[in-house]
């Protein structure tokens, strides 16, 4: 299935080098060194060129920042925009129309739907079903790919309708939106939402039954938690260790640090501990706020405990959140009324604009130091993947001993599968293609 090389001795020296980890967003490599049966180095290196977005926004106003940060990622642009807009609105004490708040929640749900559907069906399911690629899986499981694409298409449609376009959306503004949709435009999504809920329920059933490697461990988890709703863009930053800080006070509990071999900063708690973000953390910390349809589906799996302790079960958490996002999107469409104030005015002021929201892959934090004219003096953008990087490497080191008896190819595959469990997004938005044609003489 995944290769069957000579099986080396369990206590021997092994090197696992995967120069390009596939089916993740962006460019990263895996390096694992085993000496005498002990893991001596575990590293997920991120070597996409640093993009200097924190410098690019200096001198810009809040609305300009929204347009710039949307270009950080082609998969989760809403997360970047939403975090920035909430940061500036918090500083400027802007209170948006309640229907604007609902539209923003619907927009974020759209991003979760497209991102989770892509990851569950095309990036991660092939691992569990024993295929080397989505293409190989599609040949045998066409219906799964079609279901995944239906879900993803709905997510894109929501983002395109509310954001102006699905990739690098443009409609989010400080104080609201540049345009609110007509009710009929949202109601046109209703049949697809009904289908999506059925598809997402089938997704939960599917992934709950997938064979899963054993890898139980306790880890510190962090996510937003809100008293009355599942967290998208509101709530306090809460940890399973009792951490509890305001959404703009991430740096009161966590810090960034450089690590050799990676262009991304890692993050730790102030006392140096690694932590886990994302669907597994959110369900562990805020599962009691799931939409009733999602809570019911999660209960049927009986895997709430497994989600907490085994990162390979993140595919179940992601599927439950897929259902939650679809169900909540339908509720929001049903309850929609055109905002009285599509966009409220704001007055810039000097200070610190900071906020955290929940990207599909986990907590994202932005901080901007702003002058009296509303121009950015300094910025800090902390994406979820860089926060998860330490946890990924710790999981690799902890899991590796259990695969040393496997063939090199199979062991490498299991390690890559573990990395994909985090749904790392190390992408730049540029989508360029690496073609590498070998030129023939004379052509």
């Amino acid at each position: 299935m995944h290769g069957s090389g000579v099986v080396p001795p369990v206590d021997g020296d092994r090197d696992f080098d995967v120069p390009y980890v596939t089916r993740v967003e962006g460019e990263g490599s895996l390096r694992l060194k085993v000496r005498g049966g002990e893991v001596t180095e575990a590293r997920l290196a991120i070597f996409e060129a640093p993009r200097y977005f924190e410098r690019l926004v200096v001198g810009r106003t809040g609305d300009e920042v929204l347009d710039i940060v949307a270009r950080i990622c082609g998969i989760c642009p809403i997360a970047y925009q939403m975090t920035a807009v909430r940061a500036f609105e918090d500083l400027y004490q802007v209170r948006v129309d309640p229907q604007v708040g609902a539209l923003r929640r619907l927009l974020y749900a759209g991003e979760w739907i497209q991102s989770h559907a892509l990851h569950v069906y095309l990036l991660h399911a092939p691992d569990f079903l024993g295929y080397p690629s989505a293409l190989a899986m599609a040949a045998d499981h066409r219906e799964l790919v079609e279901r995944g694409l239906r879900l993803k298409k709905l997510g894109n449609a929501i983002m395109a309708l509310l954001g102006g376009r699905a990739i690098h959306p443009v409609s989010m503004r400080i104080g609201g939106f540049s345009r609110a949709p007509r009710p009929a435009e949202l109601l046109a999504l209703r049949p697809a939402l009904d289908q999506a809920i059925a598809d997402a329920q089938a997704t939960v059933e599917l992934v709950a039954g997938l064979p899963t490697p054993a890898h139980d461990r306790e880890t510190l988890m962090v996510s937003l938690r809100h008293p009355t709703e599942y967290p998208f863009a509101d709530g306090r930053i809460v940890g399973t260790d009792g951490t509890d800080v305001a959404p703009g006070a991430w740096d009161a509990a966590f810090r960034e640090e450089h690590h050799e071999g990676s262009n991304a900063l890692h993050a730790r708690t102030l006392d140096g501990r690694m932590y886990l973000l994302g669907p597994s953390a959110r369900i562990t910390i805020a599962g009691d706020q799931l939409h009733p349809l999602a809570a019911e589906a999660l209960a049927r799996t009986g895997l709430a405990g497994g989600i907490r302790t085994n990162i390979y079960r993140s595919i179940v958490a992601r599927a439950v959140e897929l259902l939650a996002a679809c169900a909540e999107a339908r509720d929001l469409v049903d309850g929609y009324g055109v905002p009285t104030h599509v966009r409220v005015a704001h007055a810039p002021r000097a200070g610190r604009a900071a906020w955290a929201t929940e990207a599909p892959r986990g907590l994202i934090f932005h901080r901007y130091e702003v002058d009296e004219a509303g121009r950015v003096l300094a910025a800090q953008i902390v994406p979820p993947t860089s926060q998860n990087q330490g946890s990924i490497e710790a999981d690799l080191a902890g899991f590796a001993p259990s695969v040393l008896a496997l063939s090199h190819a199979e062991a490498t595959h299991r390690l890559e599968q573990l990395i994909r469990s985090y749904d790392p997004c190390i992408s730049c938005a540029t989508h360029f293609l690496d073609l590498r044609i070998e030129e023939e003489a004379g052509t």
């Binding site: 390009y20 998969i75 599609a138 540029t430 989508h431 360029f432 690496d434 073609l435 590498r436």
Partner: protein
């Protein structure tokens, strides 16, 4: 009656050479109106399976994109046939949602054989806010010209279903 042709222009206008396909399509409007009139052109940020799977019945598809791994400014046409798993396949290093051969292969599983191919230009600078690199800027007329030829060729060919 000519065969329908769908052109998928991949890229964004604000990332250096990533805008090459968009510029080539714009030039096609100006210089090759006859070829332009034979094709439906869609600008897509990242090529998705759905863009290929939902092509019009019987349509040939030409994907225009910038690529690395080619000398900057070099224009190449790579037919879809044999792309999936072929020795000349793109290395799966793209930050498209999936590697191009997988996107094409899955689209074929869902929607039948694809006729057409990738028309690419080698790029070098994809920085946010950057202009086209000089080599790619100089290659845009050739990219547009080859796109016009690819459209004319595809429009005149019979499709896999023989409906041409």
């Amino acid at each position: 009656m000519s065969r329908p042709v769908l052109v998928l222009a991949c890229g964004t206008p604000d990332r250096g050479d990533d805008a090459a396909a968009l510029d080539a399509v714009a030039l096609l409007d100006l210089l090759e109106p006859q070829a332009r009139g034979r094709a439906t052109i869609r600008v897509v940020g990242q090529l998705g399976i759905e863009h290929l799977a939902e092509r019009p019945d019987g349509a040939a598809v030409i994907v225009v994109d910038a690529a690395v791994g080619l000398r900057p400014g070099t224009v190449r046409f790579v037919p879809f046939a044999g792309l999936a798993g072929g020795a000349r396949s793109p290395v799966p290093r793209s930050s498209h949602e999936l590697p191009i051969p997988e996107v094409v292969g899955i689209a074929e599983i869902l929607g039948g054989p694809l006729d057409g191919g990738l028309l690419v230009v080698g790029g070098s600078d994809f920085g946010l806010g950057h202009p086209l690199s000089p080599a790619v800027e100089a290659a845009i007329p050739e990219l547009a010209d080859q796109l016009a030829h690819a459209i004319e060729d595809a429009a005149g060919r019979r499709g896999p279903g023989g409906t041409g």
